[in-house]
């Protein structure tokens, strides 16, 4: 973080007048580098890119307003994601309330001991995007956090405010749904799964 070490500037920074400037500099250095990560995840959790931009702006505005509560040196990225999901869940709750629809209607059965779906050997970008769209949001957000944003189970649990076991089950379910979606897409295009081409042996 670029800070001025000159004693005069340090003194000025500590004054009431320049304290907001110093705070802005801290915010800039701590929060702004994560803009791309937040947008990336947001764009797969809302309807379109405009909504994603709005969400990210809301997140940063809220983060700025509560930045005095953020402890410098702790995980700012996780903090921003927590704000984003808090905001996202709030918006979803409001949407459910007004549209009278189920927030997280899960289309999957509860049997986790089903055989793994076979995914095509060559996964195209559009296929995985299509498959991801079919994964319900409550699973999709866990998959994105674990597999794309590399958060640990514990961080995901804290961010989404759910138990660790729920994180594990949602991740497992989400990954399976994604693979099923890919398998469906492959079938639509007549692509044979890898196992059918190479054979399966135990």
């Amino acid at each position: 973080m670029a800070r001025f070490s000159h004693p005069t500037v340090a003194l000025l920074e500590s004054t009431l007048l320049l304290r907001p400037l110093s705070r802005m500099a801290d915010f800039e250095d701590a929060a702004m580098p994560h803009l791309a990560d937040l947008y990336r995840s947001a764009s797969f959790l809302v309807r379109n890119s405009v909504d994603a931009e709005d969400l990210v702006q809301e997140v940063y505005l809220e983060a700025w307003k509560s930045f005095h509560r953020f402890e410098m040196g702790t995980n700012c990225r996780a903090w921003l994601f927590r704000i984003m999901f808090h905001r996202l869940h709030h918006l979803r709750r409001r949407l459910v309330k007004t549209s009278k629809v189920e927030a997280f209607a899960s289309p999957v059965d509860e049997d986790i001991h089903v055989a793994a779906p076979q995914v095509p050997q060559d996964i195209r970008d559009e296929d995985i995007l299509r498959a991801l769209e079919r994964v319900p949001l409550e699973f999709r957000e866990v998959v994105l956090m674990a597999d794309v944003e590399d958060f640990s189970y514990k961080e995901i649990a804290e961010t989404l405010m759910i138990p660790l076991g729920t994180v594990m089950s949602r991740l497992s379910r989400g990954r399976r749904l994604l693979r099923e979606g890919l398998a469906d897409v492959a079938r639509t295009y007549g692509i044979r799964p890898a196992s059918e081409r190479g054979g399966e042996s135990a």
Binding site: A25, M32, Y39, W64, A115, I123, D125
Partner: protein, 298 residues
């Protein structure tokens, strides 16, 4: 959905741990156990490879989703708008604002400090020089009362001034309307001739016009404190020891007009007198007619 299709109970148990294995969330010993099984089980290895392939594909696709270029600026704009109005003018990088503000404050403080020192030193210099005239006025005219009740005739005064300064008498006499020259002499201080002194009476008081040698001193340090400029001559004024004094510079002399009249009235009185007196001093009067005095700087 397909039916359960695992090769063995161990495969079933291992596959239940593959998600955590992929996320590196297993304990070390469990990780070792899973790795050992994977080394010997093609089906489970293929299952893991499938999981990894999907994860990598997902990571690749999502990673390509970049924010629009304007998003950073839009976020910063919204944050700035959330600031109090006072800070809304600030540039995007507040660190630079701190640097600019600090620099401006340091420069302003430096300039103000320098000006304050100049004013202080200028005032001090003016007061020190003008004190020369005030003290001679007090010493000779006020406390010493070295003037007659009835004015000496002008020719007598010319003789007292001597050839070096006699030419100044008509200049002073003509430029002090309402005043009568009572006395003009070379004033002694400490047994040495130090000042050319004209003592005049008028407006209900005694007024002195005093000329003394400059010994390297000047009033230019206080030129921004000039009370008035008359005929190209800068007049400096002060209230010192209960007296109003107006001073000016000639090439080799200081001239002082001193009395207990108000300072503005004194400036008005000195205005027509200073330019011709300065010219007369510069034109003809030998500086050596007065002995050197001790410089104010020594």
């Amino acid at each position: 959905m397909s039916a359960i299709n695992f090769g063995s109970k161990q495969c079933e148990r291992i596959r239940g741990q593959l998600d955590a294995y992929l996320s590196n969330e297993l304990l070390v010993e469990t990780t070792g156990e899973v790795a050992k099984h994977l080394a010997s089980c093609v089906a489970c290895s293929r299952e893991l490879e499938s999981l990894m392939r999907v994860r990598d594909a997902l990571r690749s696709v999502v990673g390509k989703r970049l924010p629009p270029e304007h998003l950073g600026a839009a976020v910063r704009t919204r944050i700035r708008k959330a600031q109090p109005a006072f800070f809304s003018f600030l540039p995007v990088r507040p660190a630079w604002a701190i640097a600019y503000a600090s620099l401006a404050i340091v420069i302003a403080a430096g300039v103000a400090g320098q000006q304050w020192l100049k004013v202080r030193s200028g005032r001090q210099m003016i007061a020190t020089v003008l004190t020369l005239g005030v003290r001679d006025h007090l010493h000779c005219a006020i406390r010493g009362h070295h003037y007659p009740d009835v004015a000496y005739p002008l020719d007598e005064l010319s003789k007292k001034l001597g050839s070096s300064y006699a030419a100044l008498l008509p200049v002073v006499e003509a430029r002090l309307p309402g005043f009568q020259i009572l006395e003009a002499h070379i004033c002694y201080a400490g047994g040495r001739r130090m000042y050319v002194h004209f003592i005049a009476r008028g407006r209900g008081t005694i007024l002195s016009v005093i000329l003394t040698r400059r010994e390297g001193e000047g009033l230019s340090a206080g030129r921004f404190l000039v009370a008035k400029t008359s005929g190209g001559v800068h007049l400096y004024d002060a209230n010192l020891e209960g007296m109003s004094v107006v001073g000016f510079e000639a090439r080799d002399y200081f001239g002082f007009v001193v009395s207990d009249l108000g300072i503005d009235e004194m400036v008005q009185l000195a205005s027509p007198l200073a330019p011709p007196l300065r010219d007369a001093l510069n034109a003809g009067t030998e500086r050596g007619a007065l002995p050197p005095r001790r410089s104010l700087f020594s």
